[in-house]
């Protein structure tokens, strides 16, 4: 009998083009997503060396990081942002790469658009010059972020030089409690693993609590895998996956769909396959979770208090914690619930999908954004926005005093005009709370969409379970 293999092993093995003597592999890449920030230098490299894009049809380009989320008819006012988007537009033309432009309803954040279009499918290798490519692993594909030199390599050859990763299993037993979401789960996992805990690994998420998640929830979990240091996270495909993909524009149709499903059903870890590390998590023990510091591992249940650096595991961590608390203007021992916020951001590739907007709207409905709080809702794509409007979610948000914006990355990384001012504090559904991530001097608390909406209507970090 063949050796028992993990899901990662199976995808890896089926994409090997060549294995060098030293074990370095040449891996075939099925899908490549390209955005404006990490691609100009790659196209520049191709042009200088007279190379072509090997497989434009396996490539999809979008502008998302720099696009304005307000009225787009005036174009992009910031000259540098405009230059990057224009460079992408010129490059996709010159190299014949499919592109969803800023006025295309399908435009949005790469990691939202790929799955939404069925560009992302189980069992694939998927890359993008963006660390949150891990999102696509929710479909049981091996998806990871690459640097710009690698973007150029994939464009030119449709392959990538890689060393195999180690296997980690994160097994989440039981069921998530009421008011506890996929975001809380992944924040909790980041806290358990630490930001370097996953380095060198690909993480497979399994267990009842993971099976119970919708595709949106699974994408939220896989999305933040990179925050735990692992390049890719994956979840074996099942009926939930197939139901999500059926009928998507770029998904296979007819006989090809049937053949694909038959194959996709084999995409799971064999019994007895070896994992280099196994983590067990009890879903029922997780509360709605927030970050208190400037690293995604700095998490705590909303009912907890700000931790004390004196209790840190070592001196390096204690120093980092103190620096975080100073930056965040928080005191050890202070309750997290009740910390006042200035800005609420609902969106990003972590939580900018339709289910996230529905969840946030369910809290916003019939309530008002607290005085002095600015609350933004930025759908992850034009199609998410359209769907939300069809369901009347925009009206709920607007009636409650939220701003309803055009799709893009927005305040997740503040490369466009949406930024925190120095000293402002946000509750944000994005994925990174690094210093200055949402604007220089800005302070970020990462939360799920319900918790963000709860913070918006109360004006401070709030246990959403008290509002439902």
């Amino acid at each position: 009998m063949a050796q028992a293999r993990t899901l990662f092993d199976k995808i890896w093995d089926s994409h090997l083009v060549d294995v060098q003597e030293d074990g370095t592999c040449l891996l075939y890449i099925d899908r490549h997503m390209v955005h404006e920030v990490t691609s100009p230098q790659a196209f520049e490299g191709l042009a200088t060396s007279g190379r072509k894009v090997a497989h434009p049809e396996r490539t999809l380009a979008l502008a998302d990081h720099n696009v304005p989320t307000t009225d787009r008819s005036v174009g992009i006012t910031d000259p540098e942002s405009r230059t990057q988007v224009e460079a992408l537009e010129a490059n996709v033309k010159a190299f014949g790469v499919p592109y969803f432009g800023m006025d295309d309803i399908r435009q949005g954040i790469v990691h939202i658009v790929g799955p939404e279009q069925g560009f992302t499918l189980p069992g694939m290798t998927i890359v993008c010059g963006d660390s949150h490519t891990a999102t696509h692993g929710a479909f049981g594909s091996l998806a990871f972020g690459i640097g710009t030199s690698e973007v150029e390599h994939v464009l030119a050859t449709q392959t990538l030089v890689q060393a195999p990763a180690k296997n980690m299993l994160v097994h989440v037993n039981g069921a998530l409690g009421k008011g506890v979401t996929a975001k809380d789960l992944v924040l909790h996992i980041c806290g358990v693993l630490g930001t370097a805990g996953g380095t060198g690994y690909v993480i497979e998420y399994a267990g009842d609590a993971v099976r119970a998640l919708s595709m949106e929830g699974r994408m939220t979990v896989c999305n933040m895998t990179i925050e735990a240091g692992a390049r890719a996270g994956l979840i074996a495909p099942d009926q939930t996956t197939f139901d999500y993909l059926a009928g998507r524009p770029l998904a296979p149709k007819g006989a090809a769909w049937e053949a694909a499903i038959t194959y996709w059903k084999t995409l799971k870890t064999d019994d007895g396959a070896h994992f280099d590390r196994v983590i067990e998590i009890d879903a029922a023990s997780i509360e709605p979770t927030v970050t208190w510091g400037t690293s995604p591992e700095d998490v705590a249940p909303i009912s907890a208090t700000v931790p004390n650096p004196a209790d840190a595991r070592d001196e390096g961590k204690a120093t980092a914690m103190q620096r975080s608390l100073d930056y965040m203007d928080l005191k050890a021992g202070q309750p997290l619930e009740g910390v006042p916020v200035d800005v609420v951001f609902i969106g990003s590739c972590t939580n900018g999908r339709i289910e996230d907007l529905r969840a946030a709207a369910s809290i916003a409905k019939g309530r008002k954004v607290a005085d002095g709080v600015q609350a933004l809702v930025v759908p992850g794509s034009g199609l998410v926005k359209e769907q939300a409007e069809a369901e009347g979610l925009d009206e709920i948000f607007k009636a409650a005093g939220f701003e309803w914006r055009e799709p893009g990355c927005s305040m997740c990384l503040a490369m466009n005009a949406d930024k925190l001012k120095p000293g402002q504090r946000s509750a944000s559904t994005s994925n990174r709370n690094f210093e200055g991530r949402q604007g220089r001097g800005g302070r970020t608390h990462l939360v799920g969409p319900e918790m963000a909406a709860a913070a918006a209507v109360t004006g401070h970090l709030t246990d959403v379970r008290k509002l439902t």
């Binding site: 899908r31 540098e80 499919p98 030119a156 930001t195 370097a196 090809a256």
Partner: protein, 208 residues
């Protein structure tokens, strides 16, 4: 890509853990469409105040380390985003070698692709080099990739590990793409096999 053979230079100490890519090069500098010119904004938020004036305490603003070519840092260096602007900024400043107990994966890979040598060493050895680095311009360090050694200012030698293939590419300044294109036949054969076995992969639905 510039070859990396033997590097002798000043090492700058940066005794911080989890130095992330936003610290190395904040996102407002990612808007460039070129690879060069980022060195002046390396570590921008630690290096300059709100008015753009240098913060005198920051290591790279001090006379002894202005021309550092080596960086000695704490655990998990380069965590965060995949931005290759981070190694470009380091390289443009003149840093060709980074020594730390551990690195984030993507950053680590990106270094090799840009002619920068990242070296992982046990904490005690990093601590010793950190002490050496504190001595500034009087204490140069020599990194010899061929021999895989680091020679400290007092003559002590530390050996380091490096993947042989990456070493070969770095020593010869070899471009990955050229190497891969030599395997075009194998790539073609793979595509033919995939076309037979998983035909839906090769042709995503029509993209208008």
């Amino acid at each position: 890509m510039e070859k990396f053979t033997v590097l002798t230079g000043v090492a700058a100490p940066l005794p911080m853990i989890n130095v992330d890519t936003d610290m190395i090069i904040p996102k407002q500098f990612l808007k460039t469409i070129k690879r060069t010119g980022l060195g002046k904004n390396l570590f921008d938020e630690m290096r300059y105040d709100d008015t753009g004036a240098e913060i005198p305490g920051f290591v790279l603003n001090q006379a002894a380390w202005r021309n550092a070519t080596i960086l000695v840092a704490g655990d998990n260096f380069g965590c965060g985003s995949s931005r290759e602007h981070a190694p470009w900024a380091l390289l443009d400043f003149g840093i060709r070698c980074i020594i730390a107990p551990s690195f984030a994966d993507i950053f680590y890979n990106n270094c090799f692709k840009n002619g920068i040598l990242p070296i992982k060493l046990p904490q005690e050895q990093v601590d010793a080099l950190m002490d050496d680095a504190q001595r500034g311009a009087n204490a140069t360090v020599t990194v010899d990739l061929e021999k895989q050694t680091i020679q400290g200012p007092d003559g002590g030698t530390i050996a380091f590990e490096v993947d042989p293939f990456r070493k070969h590419c770095l020593l010869n300044g070899l471009d990955d793409i050229g190497l891969t294109l030599q395997k075009a036949d194998k790539i073609k054969a793979f595509e033919a096999k995939q076309q037979r076995e998983e035909p839906w992969l090769a042709t995503p639905g029509a993209m208008a």
